[in-house]
């Protein structure tokens, strides 16, 4: 793991990954931390291990509830909506769900999941307190549906802000590409942080 603070760090895409899982009863892919880059208004800041674990857990929770659970059951996993702060909940589970989740795919008979390592970015204030964190990762699902084979690639950026003792998703950018032997569709959504990109 590379920890960089105050202007350092590469502007890299998430490293190609390792976690793979298969089958419709399989456990979800386990996300792992890749690069960490904390920007700051003041003194250098390192991401505490506990906070790193916490935010990785949130990214994992998104993965489990938005991608893995729908592949197995055709439904969102429990707790998906609670990952988001209030202003985002309607969009995350409504208008943006096509890009954010794999519910529209329905239950699939066979699938393979692959996820990249998770890049964590952060912004600390002038006192060195972390005010925003973001996770960035990509994933790929190869699934066999009633309509045939489909490949889904998705790049996910979730930005979190503190809410009490936990962190909630306060903004997101997600791009999902669904490819079948006959067609390819791309859906991009971005919301939060005070606005929703049209």
């Amino acid at each position: 793991m590379l920890v960089v603070a105050c202007g350092g760090g590469k502007h890299a895409r998430p490293a190609p990954s390792a976690p793979v899982t298969q089958g419709n009863k399989a456990k979800p892919a386990v996300l792992a931390v890749g690069e960490v880059d904390i920007q700051t208004w003041g003194p250098d800041v390192k991401l505490p291990k506990g906070m790193q674990k916490q935010v990785l857990g949130l990214a994992q929770a998104y993965y489990d509830t938005a991608v893995h659970a729908p592949l197995g059951s055709g439904k969102l996993g429990a707790g998906y909506v609670a990952l988001f702060d209030l202003p985002l909940r309607a969009a995350a589970s409504g208008s943006d769900a096509q890009a954010m989740t794999d519910v529209s795919l329905g239950q699939v008979s066979k699938y393979t999941e692959t996820a990249s390592k998770v890049k964590i970015s952060g912004l600390a204030d002038d006192r060195g307190i972390l005010r925003y964190l973001a996770t960035n990762f990509s994933m790929r699902v190869d699934a066999t549906t009633a309509q045939g084979l489909v490949r889904i690639t998705r790049s996910v950026e979730l930005t979190y802000a503190p809410s009490g003792r936990t962190w909630l998703v306060t903004a997101y950018r997600v791009t999902t590409v669904r490819s079948t032997p006959k067609a390819k569709t791309t859906t991009s959504v971005a919301a939060g942080g005070g606005t929703t990109k049209p």
């Binding site: 105050c6 208004w41 912004l123 942080g193 929703t196």
Partner: protein, 309 residues
């Protein structure tokens, strides 16, 4: 005849040691401060690296204003001032009023020539009394409440543009001006901070002087927004830009969360769809409002965007 004083060896050694320690400490301190400055860390004694000032203009007590919700239109005054060290006050020589409508995801901008008359004086003079005075003058002229004032001086502007790697500016006409140092051919030009400043200051190339210059400044702002928009398409980019702002901006009444929200909002706007109009003015030393100004301001004031202009 003077008497030579011989210091004991141990005393000389002590003096030498203390002297060496002092020089060492001074060198270490200077190196530390320099390193901090290079890293962009604000060190009060060595800072000098404040590029811009962002100020939230709270409504005056008893002001007749309706509080707006998070989706209500709001107005940001962008000021390029002529601050020079040792000269008190600084005039607002570049004045641009940005109206933002979060609900419609749209914005418009009015360019205000610096010589526009406001209450018997040139409007740029208001800034010598501070950001609030400038906000009151421009807001009063147009008929809108100004919520934020962003000020930048020559050095700050230059450093900011250089800090983001320069800016691609669309030059409309040939520029050959020795006063500002603007020598540009028409078309898109990648400019450093110094070049962008020359472009923004050039008025001698134009028959109507500051009027065209003001319009060029507006175009430059939109070109900069286009460029930043590309860099802000990730949380990583947002955090880097905000960190740059945080290290090099004085903020008053506004925090990191406000700036994050404003940044997200600003870059949810499509710069190509931001209308940019120089307000109509008449000739003279102190420029009066020209025909059509009233309807332009009304169009702008109702929801922050220009729909019928």
């Amino acid at each position: 005849m003077g008497q030579r004083i011989r210091l004991p060896i141990s005393h000389l050694r002590r003096v030498l040691l203390v002297g060496t320690a002092l020089v060492g400490a001074l060198a270490l301190g200077c190196t530390g401060l320099f390193a901090a400055w290079l890293a962009g860390i604000r060190v009060p004694i060595a800072s000098g690296a404040t590029y811009l000032r962002v100020e939230k203009i709270a409504p005056l007590a008893g002001a007749n204003r309706v509080a707006g919700g998070p989706t209500a239109p709001f107005f940001i005054l962008l000021v390029g001032n002529d601050f020079r060290p040792g000269v008190p006050g600084s005039r607002g020589d570049a004045l641009h009023l940005l109206g933002v409508n979060p609900k419609l995801k749209q914005a418009s901008m009015l360019d205000i020539p610096r010589d526009t008359c406001w209450q018997g004086d040139k409007i740029n003079a208001a800034n010598t009394h501070g950001a609030r005075a400038s906000a009151t003058a421009v807001g009063g002229l147009v008929g809108v409440p100004v919520s934020y004032v962003v000020q930048v001086n020559f050095d700050g502007f230059t450093n900011l543009v250089d800090g983001v790697g320069g800016v691609d500016v669309h030059v409309q006409t040939q520029m050959h001006d020795s006063y500002s140092g603007a020598y540009f051919s028409p078309g898109f030009q990648h400019m450093t901070g110094g070049q962008a400043l020359s472009f923004a200051r050039n008025r001698h190339d134009f028959p109507n002087s500051d009027i065209t210059r003001t319009g060029n400044q507006g175009s430059l702002i939109l070109d900069a927004m286009r460029m930043l928009d590309q860099k802000m398409q990730s949380a990583d980019g947002e955090f880097r830009l905000l960190a740059l702002l945080g290290r090099h901006a004085e903020v008053d009444g506004i925090g990191i969360s406000d700036l994050y929200r404003l940044g997200r909002l600003a870059f949810s706007l499509n710069p190509d769809q931001i209308k940019n109009i120089t307000i109509p003015i008449t000739n003279g030393q102190c420029l009066g409002l020209g025909g059509g100004a009233a309807s332009l301001f009304a169009d702008f004031a109702d929801d922050g965007i220009l729909e019928s202009h």
